[in-house]
């Protein structure tokens, strides 16, 4: 639109403006929903829920104990079963620390090696101490911890 001509818009310019406006409306009507459609699943947060691990009696003092459980998970159109593993450590049989077995470097699974008193990551030789703190290797921070609770002698962790 040429406003220097003060309201005198030619037929051709008027048609150009109308066509551009209609094209813009159509483009937005498709484009904006398309953006929501594409990014939608990425915005869905996992719901926090308490996951039942098992009896606390299994945990020995000062030895990280591995709990494995299978959780049902809805991913897209598939109901998948996912294995979920947590290392649980206690120093007094009353307070429990639940640690993720996922290396904080690049997401491989770490394993507790009793003889060497450490969590070892097979991917890039990251090593974590009993309490999850980094001993050596590339991991940028200690092993992640879960909120945990004990009900009737059964241990639960919250995944968030």
């Amino acid at each position: 639109m040429d406003k220097s001509q003060e309201g005198k818009m030619g037929r051709r310019d008027f048609m150009k403006a109308v066509i551009a406006a209609i094209s813009g409306v159509i483009g937005a009507a498709i484009g904006l929903p398309a953006i929501a459609y594409v990014v939608g699943p990425a915005l869905q947060k996992e719901t926090d829920e308490w996951i039942r691990l098992g009896s606390v009696n299994k945990v020995e003092v000062n030895i990280p104990t591995l709990f494995k459980t299978v959780i049902e998970k809805q991913t897209g159109w598939i109901n998948a079963e996912e294995e979920f593993s947590v290392y649980v450590l206690t120093t007094n049989s009353r307070d429990f620390v639940a640690m993720s077995n996922i290396c904080t470097h690049l997401g491989c699974r770490v394993r507790w090696i009793p003889d060497q008193e450490g969590f070892f990551c097979p991917c890039h030789n990251g090593v974590f101490a009993k309490d999850g703190s980094v001993v050596s290797g590339p991991p940028p921070r200690p092993l992640d911890r879960f909120e945990s609770k004990v009900e009737d002698g059964v241990l639960f962790v919250k995944r968030g």
Binding site: I30, P33, A34, Y37, W77
Partner: protein, 220 residues
């Protein structure tokens, strides 16, 4: 500054000449029926865009096809809208293509020198029908399954080559995972590639030869 850049690019691409050839060409004084071809092109592009978006989530296997379609329609933001556009756009595509074909026929626009445009158009019409036929199976619901059972069975009654065509279409004796996969592949690769190629030729001919005027008695 920007104008300089545009001119610099035009010196190399020459897009202004192409733009003028496509949009600033002279046309006779015609009526709204002469816009049906453009409407068909618009719908084809819309089907392309929405179709590409649907492939982000759709899975062409008997295990997951229906569930992924339900997921698109009920779980995704605007999924119902994208799928709805593709669904109704498919019907509109057939209707508008036929309307365009009838307009060309009744205005005698298929005559010399536009026979080649007409023939490519007839093949484009067959491709549109092919899109409709293959796309109908993809939701893998009861309607899709039995419609394709019937549709391929119809191919089967053709003399001599019928049974052979039926088996080719289904990828075996019965509708199966093989059928779904080949209908999907045809729907999103074979037909779009054919359509794009022929649309290019069709439009080239329309622009090169120009469109017909509305027929009138005085010119007899």
């Amino acid at each position: 500054m920007i104008l300089n850049l545009v001119n610099w690019l035009d010196d190399r691409f020459g897009w202004r000449a192409i733009w003028e050839a496509i949009f600033l060409r002279k046309i006779p004084h015609v009526n709204w029926f002469y816009t049906l071809g453009s409407a068909t092109l618009f719908l084809a592009i819309l089907q392309g865009v929405t179709g590409i978006l649907l492939t982000l989530y759709y899975v062409p296997t008997p295990d997951h096809a229906y569930d992924s379609v339900v997921y698109i329609s009920t779980q995704l933001p605007a999924g119902w809208f994208i799928r709805g556009l593709h669904h109704w756009g498919a019907s509109a595509m057939v209707v508008v293509t036929v309307a365009h074909l009838l307009r060309v026929f009744f205005s005698g626009a298929y005559k010399y020198p536009r026979e080649a445009t007409w023939i490519t158009g007839v093949f484009l019409f067959l491709i549109v029908i092919g899109f409709g036929f293959t796309g109908y199976l993809l939701p893998w619901d009861q309607k899709a399954y039995w419609a394709t059972t019937v549709g391929t069975q119809i191919a089967g009654v053709a003399p001599v080559v019928g049974d052979w065509m039926l088996r080719i279409a289904r990828g075996g004796d019965e509708l199966s995972a093989v059928t779904l996969a080949r209908f999907f592949g045809t729907h999103i690769w074979v037909l779009p590639a054919s359509l794009a190629t022929l649309v290019f030729v069709h439009l080239y001919l329309v622009i090169r030869i120009g469109i017909t005027a509305v027929p009138s008695r005085e010119e007899e």
